[in-house]
Amino acid sequence: MSIKVENLSFSYLQSTGERVEALTNVSFSLEAGAFVGVMGPVGSGKTTLIQLLAGLRVPTSGRIYINGADINGRGYDRNRLRQTVGIVFQEPEHQLFAPTVEKDVAFGLKYSGLDPQEVTARVRWALATMGFDYDKIRHQSPLALSGGEKRRVAIAGVIVTKPQVLILDEPIAGLDPSGRDNFLRFLTQMNQAGTIIILVSHNMEALADYTRHLLVLERGRLVDSGPTREVFIRLKQRTTGFHGETGAQRIATRLAGCGLAHPAAVVTYADLLSALKQELTGGGRG
């Protein structure tokens, strides 16, 4: 599994006649097993990028290759794309519609060609993965569930196709801390099983702790990319533009003012803890 994005641009015409450049010349490539974070200020083109990656919009120019095939090329099988790339939008719980949880989760398999037993097995697996007891919940109306349960059912409806690429737009916004951690751990498991994860988030801690690579967008341009730690360190040194910073980085900066911890090396709370341990056990800068 590989994704290659070449000079991707997307613009649209507003009713005022003004052309808006949502993305400009974005290029990157991802290999199997990638866990990538996409960050940037509001309006930087993050959502547009993932919609293009999922084949939901057609780029103004540029190409997206999945396993070497141009997804916007002639003759590309859109159904195959839907089974390969799963996308979880913001507030996915608002997309539920079927009379029962089972039917809603199975919706994505409608055109998959799987036999009914396999569909049931997939639905059972997806619901179990999201922490549900299949037999208890299958006949319930998805609209009658609690907010957190609705979200988990909606995500089960996306992972049921076992996508090789899973794209998520702010999936942890609005989740309580334990729900957030459980969900991020689930993403790690999916990733370890070989799924490419693309996570769009404003949550710096989640990006720092879970992703291995970062793409930073600003005004539709890819302004930085690379291993997560390196990107966070570079972002902290930026004097203009988007300035993503983790909580640990902010604390380290404060501590540096007191002569404790070296801020440049700290990105996550684990880094901070080890830096403080080093200071307190006398192995620091002195």
Binding site: G17, T48, L56, R82, Q83, F89, Q95, F107, V158
Partner: protein, 264 residues
């Protein structure tokens, strides 16, 4: 992301933008009456000239101003054909079974199609140069006398205003839901009619649920901010009609009168 739909307000400072919404609404009614009452082709020519002048005065691009017509041209063609081929006229040009092409039918078809086109453009000019909230406020203001006979004009005005304001939000949400369901494998673009109709279910249910959720949230928010049913709300500012508004009304009234009093 979505480009705004036809008829959506376009900010501007043109003569039409600056006119009071009440005056524009009244002018629209007068000109619509003038269109419907046009006695002859000359009558239509007069309204067409007025519409052309209004497009110039609106400062809108011609494409935007006449955009609604582009969406209904097939409908207009059908209207014209139905009238031209089935109108019971005397001046028969061609006849085959129950179908007969008459000069009177062709004229009648033209009149109906012209009525639709001109009314659509006039309505579009109003909505593209007037904020939806201003239209709603103008409606509430113009219907105020009905409050004396028990019609809840304030509430109706508020309902219209809220409904209008939610249209772009719901359209945007509909597009996002459509995209999400497409990603899950929904086939909205299917050419098979039955498949296409059933495929709308994943779109319709979430939109309705969302609309009800938003309505409930808005009702609670309005209540929390002090909105009460059947209390006369104070206006932040009172805007009397300006000279330009009266002039526009007078011109439109004259055009309307001319259509009704000039003989064919």
């Amino acid at each position: 992301m979505r480009t705004l739909p036809t008829g959506q307000y376009l900010p501007g400072h043109s003569f039409l933008h600056r006119l009071d919404a009440r005056a524009k609404l009244l002018c629209l009614f007068l000109l619509m009456a003038a269109v419907i009452g046009a006695p002859s082709l000359w009558g239509y020519a007069l309204v067409l000239a007025v519409v052309a002048l209004l497009i110039l005065l609106s400062g809108l691009p011609l494409r935007s101003a006449v955009a609604p017509v582009r969406g209904v041209y097939l409908f207009l063609l059908v209207i014209w054909l139905m009238n031209a081929l089935f109108f019971d006229g005397e001046d028969v040009l061609f006849s085959w079974g129950i179908i007969q092409l008459t000069r009177g039918g062709m004229e009648q078809g033209f009149r109906v199609a012209a009525n639709v086109v001109l009314v659509l453009i006039l309505g579009n000019l109003l909505t593209m140069t007037t904020l939806p909230t201003q239209v709603a406020a103008a409606l509430a203001s113009l219907t105020k006398p009905l409050a004396r006979v028990g019609v809840p004009t304030e509430e109706v005005g508020m309902i219209i205003s809220v409904a209008i304001q939610f249209i772009p939000t719901l359209l945007e949400e509909a597009e996002l839901i459509k995209m999400a369901q497409t990603a899950r494998g929904a086939r909205f673009e299917s050419k098979k009619l039955v498949e296409r109709a059933t495929s709308l279910l994943p779109l319709v249910v979430p939109i309705f649920v969302s609309a009800f959720r938003r309505a409930e949230e808005l009702a609670l928010a309005m209540e929390a901010r002090g909105y009460r049913y059947a209390r006369n709300r104070t206006k932040r500012q009172a805007n009397p009609l300006a000279l330009a508004d009266y002039l526009a009304l007078a011109v439109c009234a004259l055009i309307c009168l001319a259509q009704f009093f000039v003989r064919r």
